[in-house]
Symmetry: C2
């Protein structure tokens, strides 16, 4: 039987709230077995961009990562947020090790091809170096991944943290029984967006189509669901969506997705 | 017989010069056997402090690390400089992994005690977790350390990169035959400060005292020499001081220190 591996992607809103972040890291530290944490930078990158007078460039409502914004992402995701989390987790007894996709050649990507929009230094993931990540896990380290990837030739990229979490989960599924946890500000996927407690307990390929057709899954939830099913279709055992309380032993009030 | 380990500390001046840095990383990539790189942030931290309007606080000519400057150090050392170096080294075929002292609990420190000066968030090293560093080396990773340490309870510290390099060399000397390389802008320790080519080839405990008495070793070289002999007295096999060409196979024009 394969060992268990939990991959937890934490939401941007948590990163800006020290109390909530401490709670979350404490819950993460209590997860049994092998585990990996994935994070972005929340609003901290936007804040630093602003302080440095770097304009957030947008095309058709999509954010562009130019060289200056990439540097900010590297500083905030890879430096400030990652290292502080690693230090805090060490305090909670987790042998955390901070990672970008360049460290240990963990996540290879290429620059997103230019179609209507040139997104700049945004990377589309090619794959995860599961051998190197496995070595870290087997040596007793807990990798803490920020939302950066690399091309293997010296170039770093900004990459969506949800995607990174899904790709790591997929990459590690040959070696582990993987569960992917997407923590965000809601209790789960909601039946009624106006009712925070209307959590859909279980989504599978069958009712997923119905939920799409009925417009219950819409807007910002669409790419998240896409990541979830992409992961499930590539041997990830289950995906859980909810707020951080779902990391608590015995918690049940969140959405579980299976094929 | 123990395996060899090379620990290379690179100078601040190199970090600000992309061409020189690329040369140095290429030379580093060609070093045979296990190796570790250690770096600070050069002038990049000062530049970012300036851009963010953070004053560099000094007391008696010594720099103070307040919370804001610590955040900048974390962003620049742990983020911008470290991750870019890691990505570049991956391009040169080195399986680099970026580290602060918090990652893998690698370097524990405590806040420097307040005597005449409160240095703020500056850490004095307590020791290196050689077991964890060894695991990384044995797994085929090349650790790239920035000048940050932690207290194991969640607090990061700014710590002198020369000191970190010496402490890592000391910490790893039970397991390896360690050579510590201090790269800086000069070719070595100079007999005559006005003559860049007057490199003293070899310094040991005997002629060290003479060089001190004659004032040949003075000023900025004093703390560097202190680090070197501290390392040698704690089982580091040899220390080399020079510019980056000393990393070249067959190079001899630099200063070697032994007990």
């Amino acid at each position: 039987m394969k060992e268990k591996l939990s991959i937890v992607k934490i939401g941007g809103n948590v990163i800006g709230d020290p109390t909530q972040l401490t709670d979350l890291l404490q819950l993460f530290s209590q997860i049994q077995g092998h585990k990996i944490l994935v994070h972005g930078g929340g609003k901290k990158a936007t804040e630093l961009n602003k302080k440095l007078g770097i304009e957030t460039k947008m095309t058709n409502g999509r954010r562009i990562t130019d060289s200056d914004s990439l540097d900010v992402a590297i500083m905030v995701y890879g430096g400030l947020v990652n290292k502080k989390m690693v230090a805090q987790l060490q305090g909670f007894g987790v042998n955390a090790i901070g990672m970008s996709g360049a460290d240990g050649d963990a996540i290879k990507a290429h620059k997103r091809p230019v179609k209507e929009v040139d997104f700049g230094w945004v990377g589309d993931v090619e794959g995860v170096n599961s051998e190197n990540v496995l070595k870290l896990l087997k040596s007793g380290f807990t990798p803490i991944f920020c939302a950066l990837t690399h091309d293997g030739k010296g170039q770093l990229f900004n990459t969506n943290a949800d995607t990174i979490a899904a790709e790591i989960a997929i990459g590690m599924s040959d070696d582990f029984d993987t569960t992917l946890f997407y923590c965000f500000e809601k209790k789960g996927v909601l039946q009624d967006i106006t009712n925070a407690d209307s959590v859909i307990q279980h989504i599978d390929s069958k009712n997923y189509q119905t939920l799409l057709n009925e417009g219950i899954i819409a807007d910002g939830m669409l790419p998240k669901m896409h990541n979830c099913f992409h992961a499930l279709q590539n041997h990830v055992k289950q995906v859980c969506i909810g707020d951080q309380t779902m990391l608590q032993e015995g918690s049940t009030n969140f959405t579980t997705l299976t094929l």
